[in-house]
């Protein structure tokens, strides 16, 4: 309610209904009009504020019946919100518009409905000629309708038979019920029956515009229907409900009470219900009213609105519930003092008459913000010799006041703080947008408090893409002090900024095609409204327009990265389809030519390589056909797609980590979830920090896999371990041995609060590759080790999908460390002895790769055997090979492909020159996951269970230690370096 009834505010309001107040409030135009009327009748007449507003009702938004219906409703809704918020109760508001037909209305006021006798008297009288014409037209229309229907065409709606003339006035009963503070029983008549009395005149952020509130609705009802308004109200803990029926004496600006009584309050209800019957127009302002409700629901997601429209025809009836989405309510705006740079002469005078302070120093210090005592003294000193700190403030002459005013305008003051403001809150805005629009994407931003002309303001902005009931192009939602602005959109600072100063396309947003929701809420102690109806904010205040622009840009920036990711995701989805489309063409082209080559008789055609000849034979024998190529290509596409998907999931892991830092790139994580659904349709997703907490708290989750960028894995793994989860972590174990050592000491120092020690395993670990497991066994048959060769010629270049993940490129040690751990793991597994010392030279050849990209290392095992480790990150001819020469034989493992499967070829040559070849496809990841799950099951049964040593984190850390030693040695030009023992 307007009247929150505290006595402090009461003091201000008492003098309000004077002519001076009426003159100072409205704009100059209104004053001149008033004086013009005064001149006409030479007699000096006084006009009550109520009269003034009755005559100039368009100022308050009562231009016509339709607009009046809208304004009445919104004034009531805003009062209701204020009332509930003032006692920190989450608003629950019911609005009912009930259409009253003329007949009903007449019965209500006791007027007998009379039939028309003299038809020609009426404006909508239809002459016989006109009638014939109309009937003929209708007949024609029906004819075409029938024809169209017969042809199966869409039947057009019959054109609305619009009556001629003004038609009947429509009346509405508007009821608004809230759960707010209510009004003190005795104050009700004055609070509602006296214009320009109110509690909102202090300096603070308020919803109202003129402080007219429901009173204007009352005046309008008086003007259009003459019916009184009814108020029911009860305050918290009050045993009765006040009921009051009153109207207003416009000329005297006093309430005219019909009935004022106390009734029983059985349900301990508190709040207010106001009912007013007015003339209105639902047809013309229906959409405005609904828009208003929707926009209000966006900015006030903590309120619940029930909107009902009732009429005699059931099909027009409407009930919309705007559900509550949150309990978090913005704080009540605080009343604040004026900022010295924002006061005018009149205001200074008023402050002086009202102040309780005696002398000038105290007055300056206490009646304004941002003037401290010492500051006030300096100001007084600056004012001139005829000012002193001790002088009585009420004795200041008007010249002296001008001097103070001038100084206020010239002196420098700190900006007012935004503490007194109550923005909707970025979270609430986002929630409101999501709740009402269901957009595909949303971004929000809140600016820090800023200042124009001494008034603090805050801009909050949101941008949504897509959603339901959203038009293509820009949909602009404007809010000032948390109320929607619906009219005069064109000149508004928000509209103009969105249309002219945002280059949407640079954020990958299509201004015409996309469904863009633009939400800007400005809160301030003074909203610089423009226009008589206070329906828009001018575009001439640079502070505000640049704040709006920067807030919108911030939102756009957030969206851009999301949109880009979305596009990438879509591209990825299309990739497979696009590639598969070309497979038949390629297969045919290759096969045609192969067929022709094979057809040529051998003597005529040139000789080819052995492998080519073999291929041609297969073509001749139809062992290789077009279908073979198709299958191979399909498989290849499948494989590449899978790799890309994995990579994508990795990047999403990064995204998850970003979330920790406060950004919200949910989309890529969501895409990862989609991917996971291909494998596990029932998968559940948890998002963000909260999700992480949930996972940690969930006792039913025994183990987690941490697959993140190398730089951040360890931290998260430890967090999980601490929560009692078994962890399998993606390699590499750490960025450095120092990190690994620290991590291990943290891990080992965990208090044993669980019946088991959480397992910390390392994934993608060559120790599980069957090739190495089997080779390890073969090692027993080669006698004493003589020398070892490890040759790694990788193919990590910019076309490799893994290259594109930025964390890999920014990883300390480059790809040497990230890729190298595999090969060192393989080596250590194969030889079964630790590497003691290394000496290496590294180089940086390919500048597209992070340094170093080549390393040559000489190493010695603890058992004395020496070997070389040659590693090129990017080579033209990828080759990966381990070879151990022994006194009795040789074991060699080489990366290769057999029948379309990637894996390792193990070669064993023994003393008797026999050569044994076996191919082992890759399946280490499956094996290690199996081992991990097995370990979890065992550990939960038996606290002392020893986990599979091959997967242990410390093993992975040892791999890192070897590479670190190699890199260290190379930094010292090949000096011998001991490998750190862990």
């Amino acid at each position: 309610m307007d009247a929150s009834g505290d006595s402090a505010a009461g003091a201000t309001k008492r003098k309000a209904p004077s002519a001076a107040a009426a003159g100072s409030k409205p704009k100059g135009k209104a004053t001149s009009k008033a004086s013009a009327t005064a001149k006409e009748s030479s007699l000096l007449k006084q006009k009550s504020p109520a009269e003034f507003f009755a005559e100039n009702k368009n100022i308050a938004g009562f231009d016509n019946p339709g607009k009046s219906l809208y304004t009445t409703m919104r004034e009531l809704v805003e009062n209701a919100l204020d009332s509930a918020e003032s006692i920190s109760v989450i608003p629950d508001i019911e609005i009912t518009l009930e259409e009253i037909t003329k007949n009903k209305f007449n019965t209500m006021i006791g007027l007998v409905d009379r039939d028309r006798i003299d038809e020609e008297l009426y404006d909508d009288f239809e002459s016989t000629k006109a009638r014939e014409k109309r009937l003929a037209k209708e007949a024609r229309f029906q004819e075409t309708q029938a024809k169209n229907a017969a042809l199966g065409k869409k039947v057009k709606e019959a054109p609305a038979a619009r009556g001629k003339g003004r038609g009947d006035a429509a009346f509405f009963r508007v009821t608004c019920k809230d759960n707010g503070r209510g009004m003190p029983h005795d104050d009700i008549p004055n609070m509602l029956g006296r214009v320009l009395s109110g509690t909102k005149y202090g300096l603070r952020q308020t919803r109202g515009k003129f402080g007219l509130g429901a009173k204007m609705a009352l005046i309008w009802s008086k003007m259009s229907t003459g019916l009184p308004i009814e108020i029911k109200s009860s305050m918290k803990g009050q045993k009765f409900i006040s009921f009051c029926r009153l109207d207003i004496d416009i000329h005297k600006n006093v309430p005219h009470v019909h009935l004022h009584e106390k009734r029983e309050n059985k349900d301990h209800w508190h709040g207010a219900e106001i009912q007013v019957i007015i003339e209105g127009n639902w047809t013309t302002h229906r959409s405005k009213i609904l828009h208003y409700m929707r926009q209000m629901a966006v900015i006030t997601p903590y309120a619940q609105f029930l909107f009902r429209f009732l009429s005699d025809s059931a099909d027009k009836n409407l009930t919309i519930q705007f559900a509550r989405r949150t309990d978090v309510m913005p704080p009540i705006p605080l009343q604040t003092k004026h900022h010295p740079s924002a006061v005018d002469l009149l205001l200074i005078k008023r402050l002086i008459t009202e102040t309780t302070k005696q002398n000038l120093l105290q007055f300056l210090q206490h009646e304004f913000v941002n003037i401290s005592k010492s500051h006030a003294e300096r100001l007084i000193g600056e004012m001139g010799p005829d000012f002193s700190a001790k002088m009585t403030v009420k004795s200041l002459t008007s010249q002296q006041l001008v001097r103070i005013h001038q100084l206020f305008r010239q002196a420098k003051f700190d900006d007012p703080s935004g503490n007194c403001l109550s923005p909707a809150g970025e979270y609430n805005l986002r929630l409101g947008i999501i709740k009402e629009l269901h957009p595909d994407l949303v971004a929000t931003h809140a600016s820090s408090p800023q200042v124009f002309e001494g008034h603090p303001f805050i801009v909050e902005a949101g941008i949504s893409i897509g959603g339901k009931d959203v038009k293509h192009g820009l949909n602009i939602f404007r809010y000032a002090n948390r109320i929607p602005l619906l009219f005069e959109q064109g000149a508004d600072v928000i509209t103009r900024t969105a249309l002219k100063r945002i280059n949407w396309s640079s954020y990958k947003i299509n201004q015409q095609q996309d469904k863009i929701g633009v939400f800007v809420s400005i809160v301030s102690t003074k909203i610089p409204f423009k226009g008589t109806g206070k329906e828009y904010i001018g575009d001439d205040i640079t502070e505000i327009s640049s704040a709006v622009q920067s807030a919108l840009k911030q939102c756009c920036l957030q969206l851009k990265s999301k949109i880009v990711k979305k596009l990438q995701a879509r591209e990825r989805q299309d990739r497979k389809r696009n590639l598969n489309r070309y497979i038949p063409d390629v297969a045919r082209a290759i096969m045609d030519t192969l067929g022709e080559i094979a057809d040529e008789s051998p003597p005529k055609r040139p000789r080819y390589d052995k492998e080519d000849e073999e291929l041609l034979e297969k073509v001749n024998s139809q062992e290789v056909t077009e279908m073979t190529f198709r299958d191979c290509l399909t498989q290849h596409v499948e494989q590449v797609d899978y790799e890309m998907a994995l990579e994508y999931a990795m990047q999403s892991g990064e995204a998850l980590e970003c979330f920790h830092k406060g950004e919200i790139p949910l989309e890529s994580a969501a895409a990862a979830a989609e991917l996971a659904r291909d494998f596990a349709p029932e998968i559940e997703c948890r998002w963000g920090d909260a999700g992480l907490e949930e996972i940690m708290a969930d006792r039913s989750i025994a183990g987690v896999a941490v697959v993140l960028a190398g730089q951040v894995q360890v931290e998260l793994s430890l967090k999980m371990l601490k929560a009692g989860k078994h962890v399998i972590q993606e390699k590499p174990a750490s960025e450095s041995t120092t990190e690994a050592e620290t991590a291990l000491s943290v891990y080992n120092s965990f208090p044993s609060q669980f019946p088991y020690k959480p397992i910390w395993a390392l994934a993608e670990n060559y120790r599980f590759e069957p090739a190495f497991v089997e080779s390890r066994k073969l090692m027993n048959d080669i006698g004493d080790m003589m020398n070892i060769q490890v040759i790694i010629e990788g193919s990590m270049n910019s076309s490799n999908p893994y290259f594109n993940s930025s964390w890999r490129r920014n990883f300390v040690g480059g790809f040497i460390l990230d890729m190298g751990v595999h090969f060192i793991a393989g080596l250590r597994m194969l030889v079964g002895s630790e590497i003691a010392t290394v000496s290496s030279i590294s180089r940086h050849v390919d500048k597209a790769l992070p340094p170093p990209d080549n390393i040559c290392s000489l190493f010695q095992l603890e058992n004395g055997c020496a070997g070389v480790f040659v590693f090129a990150v990017n080579s033209r001819s990828p080759k990966i090979l381990w070879r151990v020469d022994g006194t009795k034989g040789t074991v060699q493992i080489e990366r290769g492909i057999d029948s379309g499967k990637h894996g390792y070829q193990v070669l064993f040559s023994s003393e008797n020159a026999q050569c044994q070849k076996t191919f082992y496809p890759f399946c280490g990841v499956n094996e290690e996951l199996k081992a991990f799950v097995h370990d979890i099951l065992q550990a939960n049964k038996d606290g002392g269970h020893k986990a599979e040593p091959r997967s242990s984190y410390v093993e992975g850390a040892r791999d890192v230690a070897v590479l670190e030693a190699m890199l260290e040695s190379s930094a010292k030009q090949g000096a011998l370096v001991q490998v750190k023992k862990l």
Partner: protein, 436 residues
């Protein structure tokens, strides 16, 4: 027979001058007065003979120097230079590519072609060779990449089609090739582009692929040659001229008694020259590609120049495009830079119409056109081109064009009479050796 024609032509010329009426404006009368400056044809012919013999003498030196430059630089290492190859070696190259791709596919690695990049940043003008060449820089065209899948597929398809064409020993046009798989190629520019890629990949000229463009250029004049064995006499080809065979391999036995080759930018001027039997008055070979020259015309011109060792004089419009066309004949186009060695004919003389001629011949204002902004832009770009900078005279002419901001077509000379070009302008130009 040719004598009779020549006489007839001279007669017509004399008649023309006699019938001129004095009603013409001062510019026209000046233009007519130039006619009187013409010396007898015999003396002009003597000049031309001197030119021709100088050219045939100096030519071997020029040729050897250019081939030396090639050898010294070993351009194959840094630049892509394609050569004519017989179909057997092209076939075997294709075979190798296809076999490698097939094996790659069967091993589960998909396939990828290494395609030389023909991007414009990769095309440079080498002053030593005086032509545009393609820097050797290959980019992979893997199948398993959305960006290149389509191109890789088209490449495989084009390779297979070329293979089939070569094996059957026939020639097809680019259009034929396109129509064999319209659905895949989409539009002809794509198959054409891949065809050029394939040329680069295989290191052979496009004609070695047995894929030719449709006929565009025409030739007329004192030239006989065998087209696929049929003897062609270009003096008997009527006004339209003989279409230049798209497949230069068909051309053999080139013979000529011409003193120079006249390169004409446009069809209209060509027709005038052909109809007036200009080549009979001054023995020459007249050639046009009707605008931007195609590969066949450029090959043909080069062939004529190399075999007959005749000077080449160019008659183009006085606008930046005229010069551009000239540059394509001389230095090659960016699109075909990989084959510039075979396509360019250096040492073409710019006979006319030059910007300085507009005033020299008092071409009336109404026949001159103001240059558009785009013209001026192109003109300024041309000034930056190395091949223009090399020739001081050209720079001057071009600067003059940009200064006056006027351009004119060859047809501007028709304002003095339709035959002014053949009867006065060209003879006078030749007499004065007014070429640069």
């Amino acid at each position: 027979m040719s004598d009779k024609k020549r006489r007839a032509g001279a007669g017509a010329a004399a008649g023309g001058s006699a019938s001129k009426k004095p009603r013409v404006s001062s510019a026209a009368s000046y233009a007519e007065s130039l006619r009187s400056k013409l010396r007898p044809d015999a003396s002009i012919l003597a000049t031309l003979r001197a030119l021709a013999s100088a050219c045939s003498k100096s030519k071997p030196a020029g040729a050897s120097s250019s081939s030396k430059a090639l050898a010294e630089d070993d351009p194959a290492a840094n630049y892509i230079v394609v050569a004519d190859q017989d179909s057997a070696s092209v076939t075997s190259r294709i075979n190798r590519l296809v076999l490698a791709a097939a094996r790659s596919i069967l091993s589960g690695r998909g396939f990828s072609f290494a395609v030389p990049s023909r991007a414009s940043s990769n095309q440079v003008y080498l002053p030593d060779l005086d032509r545009i060449v393609l820097v050797r820089r290959e980019s992979a065209r893997p199948f398993a990449n959305v960006a290149t899948a389509r191109k890789a597929t088209i490449t495989a398809r084009v390779l297979s089609l070329v293979h089939a064409v070569l094996r059957r020993g026939i020639h097809v046009t680019k259009r034929d090739l396109f129509y064999t798989d319209v659905k895949l190629f989409g539009d002809q520019t794509q198959s054409d582009a891949v065809l050029d890629d394939v040329s680069c990949m295989l290191g052979c000229t496009r004609s070695s692929l047995h894929v030719v463009a449709s006929e565009k250029g025409v030739v007329v004049g004192r030239l006989t040659f065998a087209d696929d064995g049929d003897r062609i006499d270009c003096t008997r080809m009527g006004v339209g001229g003989k279409a230049i065979p798209p497949n230069i391999d068909r051309v053999s036995g080139i013979e000529s008694d011409a003193l120079f080759i006249l390169l004409v930018e446009k069809d209209a001027a060509f027709m005038r020259l052909a109809e007036d039997r200009f080549y009979n008055r001054f023995p020459c070979i007249i050639l046009t590609a009707k605008g931007q020259p195609d590969v066949a015309t450029r090959l043909f011109l080069r062939r004529l120049k190399v075999e007959l060792k005749l000077p080449v004089l160019a008659l183009v419009d006085s606008d930046p495009y005229g010069l551009k066309i000239l540059s394509v004949y001389m230095c090659g186009s960016k699109n075909m830079s990989y084959d510039s060695a075979n396509l360019t004919t250096p040492d073409i003389k710019w006979l006319g119409v030059r910007p300085s001629d507009l005033d020299k011949y008092r071409v009336p204002e109404q026949c001159r056109l103001p240059m558009t902004d785009h013209d001026i832009k192109v003109g300024k770009e041309m000034l930056e081109e190395d091949f223009v900078k090399q020739n001081e005279g050209w720079v001057k002419e071009l600067e003059m064009m940009l200064r006056t901001r006027q351009k004119a077509e060859i047809q501007a000379l028709s304002s003095f009479g339709f035959q002014y070009l053949t009867e006065v302008y060209l003879p006078l130009k030749l007499q004065q050796e007014d070429w640069i």
